[in-house]
Amino acid sequence: MQEARIAHIINEVKAGNFRNFEEIIDAHKSMIFHLCFKMVSTAEDAEEIAQETFIKAFKSLPNFKGKSKFSTWLYQICYFTCISYLRKNKNQLSVERNVPEGVAEEPKESEVEKKEREQLIQQALNLLNPVDRAILSLYYLDEMDLNEVANITKLSKSNVKVRLHRARTKLKAAFEQFNVYEAF
């Protein structure tokens, strides 16, 4: 979605035509959901946080001055909503993240193998902390540059760089631990 179109919708929403906000939701829901999912690891929670993100964005839309890209601003809200959610549900999530070791009892089809491989990768990813997962996701999947990632996470550029390096090293070790390379 183009920034000019977004600016137009924001102005309309500010003027009271809030129904146009749906267009913004449709354009950004997927990317927001995936960042949430990478951070909290369960689809239900990710959807709940994504919903909260859009509501927060709607409420603070009058404060959006357009200094950064709208998507960056939205990512920022999403990132901090995830962080506060993780803080609130710290104990609960650590139990949920313990993915069962035996993935399928009757491995017959390639579908099961694929699922098993996904589980292994997820197990390895879960060893990283949520902030590192978010940084990896923003940098590699959303292809943002270091400045943008730093802007979203409110960390310094050098800190993001260091975290990225550490996350890569940790990920490599985790993949070796869970034999992810063999699964591919």
Partner: protein, 117 residues
């Protein structure tokens, strides 16, 4: 680990899709927030009108009482009970003045809230 490799692994993690009625659910919630906001704004407008009226009445009353006490010469009003009342209750105009000041303050606060939305 190479960049391509990381992308491949990150993409192959657990997959999940957002529910198809996600936008609808969010819009429903936003609609609720918006209607609550409008209800609040209407209440504020009503309160503003009420305070406005009360302010005018008390301020006028206070002004009239002050006029009677300080400007109207003694004995011009024949009613003794009224003169007695004014003499005995000098605090009355001060009290009404104070009330009107409090109302004015509330009035300004509600106006500010309405402006903020």
């Amino acid at each position: 680990m190479e960049e391509k490799e990381i992308k491949k692994y990150l993409n192959s993690g657990n997959k999940a899709n957002i529910s198809s009625n996600f936008s609808f659910k969010v819009m429903k919630e936003i609609e609720h927030i918006q209607s609550e906001k409008e209800r609040q704004a209407n209440l504020n407008k009503k309160a503003l009108r009420l305070f406005n009226r009360a302010l005018i009445y008390t301020a006028s009353l206070s002004l009239i009482l002050f006029l009677f006490i300080f400007l109207v010469p003694d004995g011009i009003i024949q009613s003794t009970w009224f003169n007695n009342l004014l003499e005995k209750t000098l605090y009355l105009p001060l009290a009404t003045c104070l009330i009107s000041l409090v109302l004015l303050d509330r009035y300004i606060q509600i106006r500010k809230r309405l402006k903020k939305g």
